[in-house]
Amino acid sequence: MSTYAKSTNAWSCDSCGAAMATPLFCDGCGTDYPERRGMTAFGILGLEPTFSIPTEMIDDLESKLVSRLHPDRWQSRGTSLHRKALIAQAAVNEALEEIRTPFRRAETLISVLPHAPEFTEETRPSLPTPFLIQQLELQEEIEDGLSKERKRELTTWVRSELKELRAVLDSAFQLVEKSKESDTSRDAFERIQSTVDRSRYWRNIQRSLRGQLPT
């Protein structure tokens, strides 16, 4: 059973008491809280740390935050306030991108969930050698140049791989949420870490395929 993210945002401004859209900056009086810039993406957006966050919810949150925080609304209120709003918006943009991308979201969750194990170089699940060789060969093939058909073929393949990995993350996080602090949970976290690591390689291939616009 998925647990959708709930808003946890109950921040109010120490200066004016207004409810804040984000803990970083009060869009009522313009007070900023630079000490909070180290908060996680979930914290900045006022979301409960969980994997299942529908895209529509993120879009809606973005609209609400942007409407209140966007530096354009502050430009005529002086350089200092404008600069603070700019920095807050940049942090919010970064947080939104992190939460929006499932693999980045997963990575963040591993680092914030209290019962997530801390993987070291030795304990981090390693990726199988055939997989790594496959990735190397694909990169070399892309660098050597691809026909339009082959590029289309690879693009479809990468998309389907990422879709599968996303499904793995979905079920692994469900397991984690059901069986906290148990061995089952540890196995699930290992699967999550390994999936995130694999996705990094596939996303790299995706970027290489997109490359730059041919002139």
Partner: protein, 631 residues
């Protein structure tokens, strides 16, 4: 006049071919037409042998008398190096050179070099002055638009030009985003929109998501060297296909011939938007160039199809970047004069299986959108105005040891955006760290666009590897990079010296801010009087030149009228009544205008089935809807 001036904010579309200015009045965006009803300022600068300049329609008219000193398409050179524009070098009648000890280019006219920023500043000044006169106000603050695919250097160059022209640039915004703003301000509408912006010299395609007053760019790409100019050159190739090799060489070497061919191509291109054939007659006997040819629309379309394909490749690319298919796009919006080309619209319709929106005048929509944003930023807009969320079009990275790069920010990252990177030193007591910042998608530094070198100075001397320098790269809402650095161990803020690769330093810009701006009196009327006198001087010089050099076109009666008009102007120009000087200038222009038109017509001719030259060149003001809401 005194005491009735006011400060206005405006949106300026600084285009490759034409520039426009708009403002919001009574809650509606509107183009500011000058007192002659002209809504468009041609982005043309004419510099005579004495380095007096004229901008706009008059500059364009003087082109044939002064081809080497008539500069068009300056935007193509903004923030560019010589290696970027090699293809363009032979196309224009003026000389483009590299600035000594620099990567930048400048344009050499009558022995003096002008940077693209200076020339753009002249165009902005003209646009500014026309607007100020029309509304009897002061235009001190503006939003200026740029192609979405402009890189950091190009954006900075545009900002610098604005500064030089005495404009406080509130924001640099992307042209497709501005167009989307003009098209879709109904906050209840939402959906995915693709903006296809094909202007005179640049091409952009952006995908935006509109949601309840938030305009979010999802992906953008483009080509800053693809536009109507290239369509002109395809036409030139058609027109001159039958020239002998000798005549073709002579025409390519002669600035007047190059300009005449370009003008003929432009006319033929415009004709073929509505006719199926264009007859082109061009005669330059001194060069052995005689052209009499009929160009069919089919032949022209075949010639430009590869260019249109390039644009559709970009559309494909940006859809892929956004993770969308053509059917996911609800509306396609056409921006830029070149989208009037029927073949462009036809191919877009085929690609998307639906016709693009062409309701708003494609020449004006960007300026209208920019004025809406200017109104918000200038503090006069309501607090619930639309919000623009744009993206950085190019990935940002730094050069690493061995010539590789580390990417700090990926393309299509929403802006403003920040990235940090840690550095340390390689030798003991090193107090300076050099960072080379690059933009682009490739892996090796040599394949990327150099943005500039940032020298971090004032680091406390420590053993190698000890300092922890945290560098913050911040791309602001203009899409321009700002860099800050701090040494974390000591807490010292590092001083940053920026050497832009393709731009000007702050000091250089300060030096170039026009004397007329620096020394301008606070009294707007005095400022406008000074400008009017300068313009009168230029018109008098031009008229003297025409009288002296074109006696073949001017009979005794006309010569007498011109001389009388010149005397009339000379009599009032020393005075202080601006309206008298302007009336005398108009009178003199009226007398010389037919001569200018005859000069153009004697060199070339395009049969346009009964239309006047003005109609062909699109000078007649068009009526346009201000706002159309997407359905």
């Amino acid at each position: 006049m005194k005491g009735q001036t006011r400060d206005i904010v405006a949106g300026i579309d600084l285009g490759t071919t034409n520039s426009l200015c708009a403002w919001v009045v009574d809650g509606q965006p509107a183009i500011i037409a000058d007192r002659k009803g002209r809504r468009i300022t041609p982005s043309v600068v004419s510099v005579d042998e004495e380095h007096h300049t004229v901008v706009g329609d008059e500059a364009r008219e003087r082109g044939l008398l002064n081809p080497e000193g008539t500069i068009t398409s300056v935007k193509r050179f903004m923030g560019r190096g010589l290696s970027d524009i090699t293809e363009d070098l032979g196309r224009f009648p003026y000389k483009v050179v590299r600035v000594r000890d620099s990567e930048q280019v400048s344009i050499r006219v009558h022995g003096r070099e002008y940077t693209p920023q200076e020339l753009s500043a002249m165009i902005l000044s003209e646009v500014k002055q026309r607007a100020e006169r029309a509304v009897n106000g002061r235009l001190k603050r503006a939003v200026i638009t740029v192609p979405a695919y402009f890189d950091d250097a190009q954006r900075q160059a545009t900002r610098d030009a604005g500064r030089m022209a005495g404009i406080d640039v509130l924001r640099i915004i992307n042209e497709p985003t501005a167009a989307a703003l003009a098209y879709g301000l109904d906050k209840s509408k939402s959906g995915t929109v693709l903006v296809y912006d094909l202007g005179g010299g640049t091409f952009d395609v952006s995908i935006l998501k509109l949601t309840e007053g938030v305009f979010k760019v999802i992906a953008t790409t483009g080509n800053t060297s693809l536009g109507g100019d290239d369509f002109d050159h395809a036409m030139i190739d058609l027109i001159s296909a039958d020239l002998t090799p000798e005549a073709a060489t002579a025409a390519a070497a002669a600035p007047q011939a190059r300009l005449a061919l370009k003008m003929a191509a432009e006319r033929a291109k415009i004709t073929l938007s509505t006719e199926t054939e264009a007859q082109v007659e061009l005669s330059l006997p001194e060069l052995g160039v005689e052209i009499s040819v009929t160009i069919s629309r089919a032949a022209y379309e075949a010639a430009i199809d590869p260019l249109i394909t390039k644009t559709l490749d970009a559309v494909d690319f940006v859809l892929d970047d956004a993770g969308l298919d053509p059917e996911d796009v609800r509306d396609i919006v056409c921006v830029g004069g070149s989208t009037r080309t029927p073949r462009v619209r036809q191919r877009l319709t085929e690609f998307f299986d639906k016709a693009p929106h062409t309701d708003l005048n494609p020449d004006e929509v960007v300026a209208l959108g920019a004025s809406i944003q200017a109104n918000v930023l200038g503090g006069d807009g309501s607090s619930d105005g639309a919000v623009l969320l744009d993206v950085t079009p190019l990935s940002l990275g730094i050069e690493t040891y061995g010539g590789g790069t580390t990417k700090l920010l990926w393309r299509n990252s929403p802006i403003p955006v920040r990235a940090t990177e840690g550095f340390t030193t390689y030798v003991d007591n090193q107090t300076v760290v050099d960072i080379h910042v690059l933009q682009g998608e490739r892996e090796m530094a040599a394949d990327l666009r150099s943005l500039g070198r940032f020298k971090l100075k004032g680091l406390p001397p420590m053993s190698a590897g000890m300092p922890r320098v945290l560098v913050e790269f911040f791309i602001n809402a203009d899409g321009i990079l700002q860099v800050k650095a701090k040494e974390m161990t000591s807490g010292t803020e590092a001083g940053i010296e920026v050497t832009p690769t393709y731009g000007l330093t702050d000091e250089q810009v300060e030096e170039m801010i026009f004397d007329s701006i620096e020394n301008a009196e606070e009294d707007v009327e005095a400022h406008m009087l000074a400008d009017t006198k300068a313009e009168a001087g230029s018109i008098l010089r031009y008229s003297k030149k025409v009288l002296a050099e074109r006696t073949d076109l001017i009979d005794a009666a006309l010569a007498a009228e011109i001389e009388a008009a010149m005397e009339g102007l000379e009599a009032v120009v020393a005075g202080s009544v601006r309206s008298d000087i302007e009336t005398a200038m108009e009178s003199l222009n009226d007398k010389t205008a037919p001569v200018a038109a005859q000069m153009m017509n004697e060199v070339l001719q395009v049969t346009v089935h009964g239309k006047t030259m003005g109609e062909v060149l699109g000078e007649k003001p068009r009526s346009s809807a201000q706002y159309i809401q997407l359905t």
